[in-house]
Amino acid sequence: MLRIRFHGRGGQGIKTASQILGSAAFLSEFRAQDFPLYGAERRGAPIVASTRIDRKNVMERGAIYHPDLVLVGDESLIGDPVAAPLSGTDSSTLIFINSTHRPEDLRDHFKLFSLPVSADLTRLCELHLKRGNVLSTALAAAAARLTGLISLEALLQAVDMELGESGLGREIREKNQTLAGEVFNSMDGGTLVEKERTPEPAAAFLDMKQEEVSRAAPLVLTPGNMALRKTGNWRMERPEINYEDCNACWICFVRCPDGAMGIGTDGKPVIDYEHCKGCLICAEECPKHAIHFTREVSAWV
């Protein structure tokens, strides 16, 4: 059995990627299972989706703890302890990272066991779909190629099926197919070897003992400490203010839902990049068009 895990952010199409891969495996005469794992749906927050592929019926259930292949849609997740996309990986796990960096640099920066595979899928999505943050098709194509088990034909059919099911029209499905083909053909295939693993054990039941009230219903005593949580790495695009054009009208300050637009001592707005989630409302709303945005290319410069 191959166990494949996709990591990305809400809105990037991570769940759809796992579905496309599952269907492509099925069309290649495998048995497949795909499912997402997330709590409350929210854009930008870390999301995991998984696909299991086997020649026999897939009886294993639950989260994948020791994946054979991990695909990371957003490299800024690698340093995120909540997302932890590399958890359960070892030297035998193949890691794919959507990044502009070279595999060697990614290995050294993130201290990986082995050389990952990397490709700039965001650029390709931008090129074909005009949407750099919709990675579903591109990630599924990369996964399909890396498993070495799936034909291009099955992949293209799966893209058409899955995207059709979510209501996308013919034209956009065809663009996705072109994208899938380009990703598939640009990568070396068949590098993944099926390994025999013992089935993953079910998690044991936890015996929850009654805690005293001070532990069971704890208090938060620091007002506004939510600001300690940094949501800046949710951002896929980075707004930047061109201060020469800014007339300090404060529209961006008023319209920012997260309160991530402060006002500096000179009365001009200042972006709080530690918290800005990259919704780009400021860029959209600025009457002087003084806020432009660029792609957040990587987790480090």
Partner: protein, 310 residues
């Protein structure tokens, strides 16, 4: 009875303090968060919150809170009942336990439309009837957003939700119109009710200012454009909110002293299509073929609403 508060006229008069701290794990471009943030700027620090289960559950994730005041989490049905308990506790402590009156706080319910229109309506009705001194703030994103966007009583005619998708037998998706909660509340004759929009910060803040000067149940419904559930690019949140007002779909109004006043009357209402076509939840009205019949029914419901006022 009407209130005389001095309204603000300029954006620069808005409080610069962020009373809802950044860092919350709500979606990027959340319309509800923007409305709450603006309301808080006017309400200030002395607010105690009771929060019904919903998207805003995520506002406070232990051990973090974005608020200055305390936050009590309740089931979807009981934020108004919890508000009564908090109000009573404050009153008892001031009357009998020596709590200084200067330490009194406003009690505020924060609840989504699932709680407000559906499960929590009965306790809220009772709280209004009892004349509970509280503020009720409903962020209305027209569906159960936190669980994947299922149908609520606030979901509008023709919108697709997880539990009311368009099908061959039910081509419009949601078949019922949105429940007229404003009128239900108004039938209780509370001191103040208002609808607000994140796109209209001055209107929103002035309404909160007015409510703050009053006692008793003061109720708000804020349209909360939802990029995730409605299917639009987060950057268009304010555009969607603007079109909701400009098309007349979401009327901005207030109820005070038995009368309803519209605070923003669209000069020339835009066709509802301009609002619908930007959102994925209405896409089935445009592709594969345009459903003129359903769009006309939506337009008619808006025309019928505005007829008596135009």
């Amino acid at each position: 009875m009407t209130t005389d508060t001095i309204p603000i006229k300029k954006i620069k008069e808005i409080n610069r303090d962020e009373l809802v701290a950044p860092g919350t794990p709500l979606c990027a471009g959340c319309g509800g968060l923007e409305a709450l943030r603006l309301a808080q700027k006017e309400l200030g620090e002395n607010v105690l919150f009771t929060n019904a289960a919903g998207c805003f559950t995520l506002l406070s994730v232990y051990p973090f809170t974005p608020f200055r005041g305390s936050w009590l989490y309740t089931s979807m049905s009981s934020p108004a009942a919890a508000a009564q308990g908090i109000r009573d506790a404050l009153d008892v402590r001031m009357d009998k336990r020596g709590l200084d009156r200067s330490e009194d706080m406003q009690v505020m319910v924060i609840a989504g439309d699932g709680s407000t229109y559906d499960m929590g309506l009965s306790p809220t009705s009772a709280a209004i009837h009892r004349g509970l001194d509280f503020i009720y703030f409903c962020y209305d994103n027209e569906g159960y957003g936190n669980t994947g966007f299922q149908l609520s009583a606030a979901s509008p005619l023709g919108s697709a939700t997880q539990t009311a998708p368009p099908t061959r037998l039910h081509p419009s998706g949601t078949e019922a119109g949105k429940k007229d909660l404003f009128s239900i509340w108004a039938a209780h004759h509370p001191p103040y009710i208002a609808t607000v929009s994140p796109r209209e910060p001055l209107d929103l803040i002035n309404k909160v200012r007015k409510a703050q000067a009053l006692k008793g149940p003061r109720l708000f419904i804020s349209l909360a454009p939802c990029p995730t559930g409605w299917g639009f690019d987060p950057r268009q949140m304010h555009l969607i909110a603007k079109l909701a007002v400009d098309t007349g779909i979401f009327p901005l109004k207030e109820y005070e002293g038995g009368t309803v006043v519209h605070t923003r009357v669209p000069r020339k209402r835009q066709p509802v299509e301009t609002y619908l076509e930007l959102q994925k939840r209405f896409r089935h009205l445009f592709v594969p073929e345009k459903r003129e019949d359903i769009i006309a029914a939506i337009q008619k419901s808006v025309d019928d609403y505005w007829g008596p006022y135009e």
